[in-house]
């Protein structure tokens, strides 16, 4: 009886093990293939849910179904116009056919290294085929550029910025190229998108650009200062002119007033003194006498002869 119980228990365990190994669950993010003695059998299982397989004989390999990341290592590439730039790209890809993916690549790591080779190569080709402004710009939109800020990478020359930008076209063309190649290679993966994450100058060029920007700004600063000084001088000059104008006008008016007054005074005097011979004579007499008073003081030395009218009685009363 004891052995029967043991046999039954073993049977139950075996059945449970068979059922457990015959069932597998795929998540919404997963897909799988089934292999039998190492060889894949049947189509890839893509639908999420509970699935069955032959226990122990068949094995399940689960892969990701989602969009997967690929981040390129930044690389230095010369452009068509011989400028060295750092390019950092990213792409999104997915396992489009789990079966071929399993056969050709086995896992994501090998897939990544294949993508590295492919994408880096295509990116390099495309970049080397375009000039820097084409890579940076995406249209021929008219930009407003301050004259002093126009920059040449080597400070002597100003780059032609009028060429039509092709940033979007370049990345689209890269994606197209890679897609075609992947189809050709039949690796079971597809690239959905590729974009330039960062495009930078290499450090030496960057320093040159900074130098150029600094000197440009210094030029603007000097211009502002010079304009300020110029305007100051202009205002001061105007000030001087205006001041002289005001004062001279006042002088003109003042002299006119004085002149009129003097003229009027002359007329008044003339009217009074110039009535007839008598008045002229009297004026002459009075004015002369008055002048004596002011002409002589204590320091004056007077020498008079006796035929002077004033002294005529000094010698005789007659």
């Amino acid at each position: 009886m004891k052995t029967r119980i043991i046999i039954i228990a073993i049977l139950v365990i075996v059945v449970i093990a068979f059922i457990a190994d015959g069932i597998y669950i795929l998540d919404e993010t997963e897909q799988s293939i089934i292999t039998q003695f190492g060889d894949p059998v049947g189509e890839p299982v893509i639908k999420a849910g509970m699935h069955f397989k032959i226990p122990f004989i068949q094995k399940v390999f689960v892969f990701d179904k989602r969009l997967l990341e690929w981040d390129g290592a930044p690389q230095e590439i010369p452009t068509k116009d011989n400028k060295f730039i750092h390019i950092d790209t990213f792409a999104r890809w997915r396992i489009s056919n789990a079966l071929t993916f399993y056969k050709s690549l086995k896992n994501e790591m090998t897939a990544h290294s294949r993508l590295d080779d492919l994408l880096d190569g295509v990116v390099r080709d495309e970049i080397a085929n375009h000039r820097l402004p084409e890579i940076i710009r995406s249209s021929d939109r008219q930009m407003s550029i301050l004259e002093v800020e126009a920059v040449g990478v080597d400070s002597s020359r100003i780059d032609d910025l009028s060429i039509k930008g092709a940033r979007k076209k370049i990345s689209e063309s890269i994606v197209k190229h890679v897609q075609d190649k992947l189809k050709e290679l039949d690796l079971g993966i597809e690239v959905i998108d590729m974009k330039f994450k960062r495009i930078d100058y290499n450090p030496e060029v960057q320093e040159k650009v900074f130098d150029r920007m600094v000197s440009g700004q210094k030029r603007i600063a000097e211009k502002y200062r010079a304009i300020g000084q110029g305007k100051k001088q202009d205002i001061l000059g105007k000030q001087d002119q205006r001041k002289k104008e005001i004062l001279s006008k006042a002088y003109l008016e003042a002299q006119t007033i004085r002149g009129k007054a003097d003229a009027k005074a002359i007329k008044i005097y003339a009217d009074a003194y110039n009535k007839n011979y008598e008045s002229r004579d009297f004026y002459n007499f009075m004015r002369t006498l008055n002048a004596y008073k002011f002409a002589m003081d204590t320091t004056t030395v007077l020498l008079l002869t006796t035929d002077n009218d004033f002294l005529k009685y000094l010698k005789s009363p007659k």
Binding site: R66, R198, M213, K218, R225, Q239, F282, L302
Partner: protein, 328 residues
């Protein structure tokens, strides 16, 4: 049955039989309680529960206390659908609050980018987004966060790359944010990531590191220009107001002179006329009187007077005295 068997022992076996049943009941109760506990889950107010049954999407549940099949049959992901997520580029907030603290680290890798005229600008920005479709968000893209950041950086550089340095710094900030938002949304829709971009906002946009000083110098130069003009204007105003005052003074002085001059002339004329009228009445006497009075006055003032006989001309031969009354 089992308790009857164990009965063949001492008298205490009866009690242990009840314990035996209690233990079994307890074990069953424990399993039931654990099962119940595993069967319930809470979905918070701003969340949705995404239920997978045997790995496959089954249903979406609203906020509240919800039930599921336990023991690994149903799996629930909670997704914050009403939450505003924020990503920062070129800077990091350490602690937000009334006085938000930012990381001192520089993220120039993120923020330095080439402008369309081949200058370099330092752009910092934020992206706010919401999970629009939780199913797509959970199951279509691996590394959702990294994808959003990658796309945001690519989009910003794409938009800035088509604008001049001057436009990026000043005139086109709002437009850049808008174009960038559309570009991001378009790309993310292509990835089917289930995210809706709510807002792209440019924060600080600067000239990069060591160029910044020279830009500040331009601002200083602008200030200096203003100052120079203001100084000159001040001098102008001061000098012109003073000159205007001076001009008025000059004119008024002239008017004073005029009044003075004419009044005096008239006064003199009146005096003369009055005296002259009286003089005419007794000409000789008056004339003589006036003469003598004047001479008296003059003589009394002069200290040194020499009266010389007209016949003694030889005394002072160096003086020509003939006809001269006064010599100074």
């Amino acid at each position: 049955m089992a308790w009857k068997k164990v009965k063949i022992g001492n008298s205490e076996f009866e009690v242990s039989s009840t314990h035996y049943w209690l233990a079994i009941l307890g074990a069953i109760a424990l399993i039931v309680v654990i099962t119940l506990l595993m069967s319930f889950y809470t979905v918070n107010a701003n969340e949705r529960g995404i239920v997978l049954r045997f790995g496959r999407y089954h249903t979406t549940t609203d906020p509240g206390l919800r039930w599921k099949i336990p023991w690994g049959v149903d799996k629930v992901y909670k997704v914050k659908v009403d939450y505003q997520y924020k990503e920062e580029f070129g800077f990091r907030t350490l602690r937000s609050g009334v006085k938000t603290q930012y990381s001192r680290n520089q993220f120039t890798d993120e923020s330095w980018m080439l402008t369309g005229d081949l200058n370099i600008a330092d752009v910092k920005w934020i992206v706010q987004y919401r999970i629009d479709d939780p199913i797509n968000f959970l199951f279509r893209v691996r590394d959702q966060g990294g994808t959003i950041r990658d796309v945001a950086e690519a989009a910003m550089r794409f938009v800035v790359g088509d604008r001049s340095f001057h436009e990026v710094l000043q005139t086109e900030r709002r437009e850049i944010a808008e174009v960038m938002k559309d570009f991001m949304q378009e790309t993310l829709d292509k990835y089917n990531i289930g995210i809706k971009i709510q807002l792209v906002q440019l924060k600080d946009v600067h000239p990069p590191g060591r160029v910044r000083d020279s830009f500040n110098e331009v601002n200083r130069a602008k200030q200096e220009q203003e100052t120079a003009i203001n100084e000159a204007s001040q001098v102008y105003n001061r000098e012109i107001y003073r000159a205007e005052g001076e001009a008025k003074r000059v004119v008024q002085e002239a008017r004073g002179y005029a009044i003075n001059r004419t009044n005096r002339a008239e006064g003199d004329a009146k005096l003369f006329t009055s005296v002259f009228e009286e003089y005419l009445k007794a000409k000789d006497v008056t004339r003589r009187r006036l003469y003598l009075e004047t001479l008296e006055d003059v003589m009394s003032k002069v200290d040194k007077k020499y009266f010389i006989d007209k016949d003694l001309k030889g005394i002072v031969p160096f003086l020509n005295l003939s006809g001269t009354e006064v010599v100074k």
